[in-house]
């Protein structure tokens, strides 16, 4: 069982120092932070909430063991996903 950081990570460094298992590292190959699946314990035994996912400001950057975003669109910013899509479409049209 392990969490995964994907390429939408913005390298804000917030998660790395919080990991009780020292599973998070900067991957120069990927160009962003990643989680070593062999080390990640999902914080079992240390914290009730997974630490990386509890501080990450980027929706969708961290996936659970089933590949589902722990912080889905709208959950952190409060911006309804439909509204975001609308505005992005409008900006693109310019």
């Amino acid at each position: 069982m392990a969490l995964q950081i994907i390429e939408s990570c913005v390298n804000c460094y917030a998660c790395e120092p919080l990991c009780p298992s020292k599973a998070i590292f900067m991957s120069s190959k990927a160009g962003h932070f990643r989680i070593n699946p062999n080390k990640c314990t999902e914080c079992e035994g240390d914290y009730q909430d997974t630490q990386c996912a509890s501080i990450c400001p980027i929706e969708g950057a961290i996936l659970d063991a089933n590949g589902i975003a722990v912080n889905p669109p709208g959950s952190l910013t409060g911006i309804p996903p439909e509204r975001m899509a609308e505005v992005m479409a409008e900006l693109q049209a310019h």
């Binding site: 460094y13 917030a14 909430d49 952190l76 910013t77």
Partner: protein, 497 residues
């Protein structure tokens, strides 16, 4: 008759000044202790007149943040734009020290090194304090500053006071958790993400506690507040009163910056920022007996140079690596230059006090106030070509004197080319930014902008090049009064001004 300069006249000698929202800390320099005076005198953010002479820089060493604000998006870094929270190059503490010393050697007017992000400095305590530790050792003539959201402040105060940090800025947007929940969707606290009112309440408690702890230790505190129309605009006068009572030294009310393309909650949801008038009104409402800062430029977390300019491009890491710095000799040079600037500031201030005193009992004009825009690149004089100005300082002239009101950016956080605008020319945008001003003073101006300004009802004036700003503003105001241009508006307009 000569008009007193309101902003820079020490309160002790300026009759009637207290009834006005005199610009900033300089009014209070007159009755501050020598110790505090020494702390603010060459700090461009704490002293309005110092910001014309002294420069500051920020080093971007603190990427992580422990809260989310609705006006911030950590994802966005467009090289064209410049707003707080945005940087292009993240530094290690070691690189930050190197950069600071390189800038201090090359820009001797640089007096202050601040850490302001791009996340929250105190959410990155190791990187932040390592930078401070090294700098207080290797560059003891540089003042250190830190800017924080306050969540981790109480636990950091002890360490901050160890590094001999004179100033701390706390961003406080509210003291009411219900309002806080509309600004902060969540905080990270005790290993949990806490949302809504509960999170906001903790944040507010920590901010207030941190403020009290700092002032108890004699560390100067500036409070920044972001004015968000319809959210906290009615609430900020209350915030101002409370932080003042707890010993904050200066309050800086800044306008919300919200554009859809920034991808922030406020930007995407169409929350508007305040107008120039709304901002000035709120600053006046907050002022009471609180010092208001009106010259903040909402700098990037990696800004370098005088407020309002950014010389960051001259000091990228690759350029710095190639520089040889002899800091000992740089420090000696800096000392000489700082002393010369201080002397110039003192004599200017003294001259103003004298002038004000000698004209105190002359009959007053009975004319309406006028806003004027100034093109300047520093030193408190009109020394910039209209076409080169990326921002204008706005002064108000009235029968009570001259006061600094604000600055207005012309490039509206973008590079000023047409690539991301709506096709409006740079000149049109500049003229729009100067709305409400009747005069623009600059060192020179071309024919085309001259015509366009006149058509927009703004009188260009290049006759006062290289003159001190306040003197020129006064002179032009008196000319306008003498020419009968101000008479048509009656006393009732003056009463509301």
């Amino acid at each position: 008759m000569e008009l007193p300069v309101l902003n820079e006249t020490p309160a002790a000698s300026a009759g009637g000044c207290s009834s006005h929202s005199c610009g900033s800390s300089d009014d209070q320099l007159g009755h501050l202790s020598d110790e505090i005076r020494a702390k603010v005198e060459n700090h461009p953010c704490y002293s309005e007149d110092a910001h014309h002479y002294f420069a500051r820089m920020h080093v971007a060493v603190a990427p992580a943040c422990n809260i989310q604000c609705h006006y911030c998006n950590r994802k966005y870094d467009c090289s064209n734009e410049s707003r707080p929270g945005v940087v292009s190059e993240l530094l290690t503490p070691e690189q930050a020290v190197k950069k600071t010393m390189a800038v201090a050697a090359n820009i001797p007017q640089m007096t202050v090194l601040g850490i302001a992000g791009p996340g929250d400095p105190l959410a990155n305590p190791e990187r932040t304090f390592e930078t401070f530790r090294r700098l207080s050792q290797d560059a003891p003539d540089i003042k250190l500053c830190v800017s924080t959201n306050g969540l981790a402040l109480p636990e950091s105060v002890e360490e901050l006071s160890k590094h001999n940090i004179d100033h701390v800025t706390i961003t406080i947007n509210c003291v009411d958790p219900e309002i806080g929940a509309q600004i902060y969707p969540w905080i990270f606290w005790e290993n949990k993400r806490i949302k809504g009112v509960k999170g906001a309440k903790i944040l507010i408690e920590q901010q207030q506690k941190g403020l009290e702890m700092l002032t108890a230790r004699g560390i100067l505190v500036k409070v920044n507040s972001v004015m968000i129309p319809g959210v906290n605009d009615k609430h900020l006068a209350e915030v101002s009163k409370i932080v003042k009572a707890k010993g904050a030294f200066l309050h800086n009310v800044m306008p919300l910056i919200a554009e859809a393309e920034h991808g922030t909650f406020y930007g995407v949801m169409g929350q508007r920022g305040p107008t120039q008038d709304e901002l000035m009104d709120l600053q006046d409402a907050c002022s009471g007996d609180m010092n208001m800062m009106r010259h903040c430029r909402q700098c990037r977390a990696d800004a370098v140079g005088l407020l309002g300019e950014d010389r960051g491009d001259e000091f990228t890491m690759d350029k710095i690596e190639a520089m040889e710095i002899d800091y000992q000799s740089a420090m000696e040079k800096r000392k000489v230059i700082h002393e010369a600037i201080a002397e110039e500031m003192h004599s200017k201030r003294a001259a103003k006090v004298e002038k004000a005193a000698s004209h105190a009992d002359e009959p007053k004009l009975n004319t309406r106030p006028v806003l004027m825009a100034i093109a300047t690149s520093g030193q408190g004089v009109i020394n910039q070509h209209f076409g080169h100005a990326k921002e204008f300082l706005i002064y108000e002239a009235s029968p009570d004197g001259v006061r600094f009101m604000s600055h207005r950016k012309t490039d509206l956080y973008c590079s000023g080319d047409d690539t991301c605008g709506d096709g409006e020319s740079v000149l049109q945008r500049t003229i729009r930014a100067l709305e409400g001003c009747e005069v623009v003073l600059c060192s020179k101006i071309g024919y085309e902008p001259w015509d366009m300004l006149e058509q927009a009802g703004i009188q260009p004036n290049g006759e006062h090049a290289m003159e001190p700003i306040e003197d020129a503003v006064m002179a032009v105001y008196k000319e306008m009064a003498a020419a009968g241009k101000l008479d048509e508006v009656s006393a009732d307009k003056r009463a509301t001004a």
